[in-house]
């Protein structure tokens, strides 16, 4: 491995491009005209504001066509101490993008001596999504959500993206993936920006349960195997996960509310 290359800036992605091109994911390498359909896909993820910041949640299922690819994939990934990414779409490129995003933010922080602003981080992710466009055209779509706590403005913020790198800040909540539309409908009814941590958790689980109810590719809560959705809170204190036991309690309350343990 070479020591000290040409690149002098503070971006890890650019460093790979200039000095380590062989390590950089290159979507244009895909065979032209060929459309990949049978790769694992992540399904439903969502983000919503609550009184202390943002909550990001996702089910655990990855599907490959109509088969289960993984029952316990993690789609909510911290990108640094105050920001998170939730991935939907082709699992491989999505996870790679999350890993690269994490290294990018850490690299910038170490080289420059201070972190990027939350806006800067969202912008960086938009560029990464845009650079994936050739792969998206061939079926490897990556459409993440990005959320975090803005230390300057002292508030939680969240963004959605489209395949062309479009970046849209949302004021309340957003959901994406195959069950995203149902999750969004569910959130629309119960969500408030000043919800408490517990109320936010309830809204997030309810949205995932609703999505799983309508969309067969969304995992929901798997009591049989003890696999619970990932729910993470991001506030001025950093990122903390919801306990499985809390999620289970909320889920059982939802089942009871719907009578006879079913919906």
């Amino acid at each position: 491995m070479q020591f000290g290359g040409k690149y002098q800036g503070s971006s890890f992605l650019e460093l790979l491009e200039v000095d380590y091109a062989q390590l950089r994911p290159d979507p244009s390498q895909l065979a032209e005209g060929f459309r990949l359909s049978s790769v694992p896909h992540g399904t439903t993820v969502l983000a919503l504001k609550y009184v202390d910041g943002v909550i990001v949640a996702g089910d655990r299922l990855a599907t490959e066509g109509n088969r289960v690819a993984s029952r316990d994939i993690e789609k909510v990934l911290p990108t640094d101490d105050y920001s998170l990414m939730a991935i939907a779409g082709a699992a491989g490129p999505s996870l790679e993008m999350a890993r690269l995003m994490r290294v990018e933010l850490e690299h910038y922080e170490k080289i420059e001596g201070e972190s990027l602003e939350l806006d800067g981080k969202a912008n960086k992710l938009a560029q990464m999504v845009r650079s994936n466009l050739p792969a998206a055209m061939q079926g490897l779509v990556v459409v993440p959500l990005f959320a975090g706590y803005d230390l300057r403005r002292r508030t939680g913020r969240l963004w959605k993206f489209d395949v062309t790198g479009g970046r849209y800040e949302e004021t309340e909540f957003e959901a994406t993936g195959s069950g995203g539309i149902y999750a969004r409908e569910s959130l629309k009814k119960g969500h408030r920006n000043d919800a408490s941590r517990q109320e936010g958790l309830q809204a997030a689980i309810l949205a995932l349960v609703d999505a799983a109810d309508e969309d067969r590719a969304t995992g929901g809560v798997d009591l049989l195997r003890g696999i619970f959705p990932i729910v993470k809170f991001c506030s001025a204190e950093g990122i903390s996960p919801a306990e499985d036991s809390d999620i289970e309690r909320v889920y059982r309350e939802i089942l009871e509310g719907r009578g006879r343990g079913g919906s």
């Binding site: 000290g4 460093l15 000095d19 390590l23 290294v103 690299h107 170490k110 080289i111």
Partner: protein, 232 residues
């Protein structure tokens, strides 16, 4: 560049070494100490430009001498570590390999370039009890000519390194808590500030690699916590 008349290689090397040593001795020293829960890096530094920096999860960097030169080395180290961790795994990024790379690069500059680097650096790595075979700390010192050495317990770089080393060889003992290690390091640094009776805590740059911390173990201590630790 053309040479007007013959100068022996010994003379060239000697001159370069003397030049580098002079440059380094103009700056202040930097001390790295192992304490019971990690590795402590400290330097007297009244400016806001850092002499100590994070390289990777368990690795930190300290430099003395010409700021622009050691800061460049720090950045090269960060790039090297991040690329290696991205290409392989985070646990594959080790202090020894980085110190060796520094040694090669600095040695190369010393022999090839007219002007040697006027810097000395420390690469410190804290052990991780969760990783079999990676439990112990490691401290490496790399000098302006690329000579590399490994150190146990403590290590000093900078103009007064010899004096501080002999002081610490008497005073240092293993298993110090953080507060005591910090006080020892400060006392050592004070010995070289001619005429100045003490090093203000505000003028100390202090960073730690904390063994028990998950993920990135590097932490920069605020002036308040340094004052608190010194007083305790």
């Amino acid at each position: 560049m053309s040479m007007p008349f013959y100068v022996s290689p010994e003379q060239v090397m000697q001159d370069k070494a003397e030049y580098a040593r002079k440059g380094i001795s103009r700056g202040k020293s930097s001390v790295t100490l192992e304490y019971v829960e990690g590795v402590l890096l400290m330097a007297e530094n009244p400016s806001s430009l850092s002499k100590i920096g994070e390289i990777y999860d368990r690795i930190a960097f300290a430099g003395v001498g010409k700021f622009s030169e050691f800061d460049q080395l720090r950045k090269i180290g960060v790039r090297y570590a991040d690329v290696k961790g991205y290409a392989y795994s985070r646990d594959d990024v080790r202090g020894k390999a980085l110190a060796n790379a520094y040694s090669q690069a600095m040695g190369d500059v010393f022999t090839r370039e007219l002007k040697p680097l006027e810097v000395e650096v420390i690469v410190a790595e804290v052990g991780d009890d969760e990783l079999a075979g990676h439990e112990s700390n490691a401290i490496f010192r790399v000098q302006f000519d690329g000579s590399i050495s490994d150190h146990e317990g403590y290590c000093v770089i900078g103009g007064a390194a010899d004096e501080l080393n002999s002081y610490l060889s008497n005073e240092y003992r293993a298993g110090l808590p953080l507060g005591e290690a910090l006080r020892l390091g400060r006392t050592a640094l004070q010995r070289v500030t001619d005429g100045e009776p003490r090093v203000d805590p505000e003028n100390l740059e202090v960073c730690v690699l904390e063994r028990a911390r998950g993920g990135r173990k590097f932490r920069r201590l605020t002036a308040d916590s340094v004052i608190g630790l010194l007083g305790a």
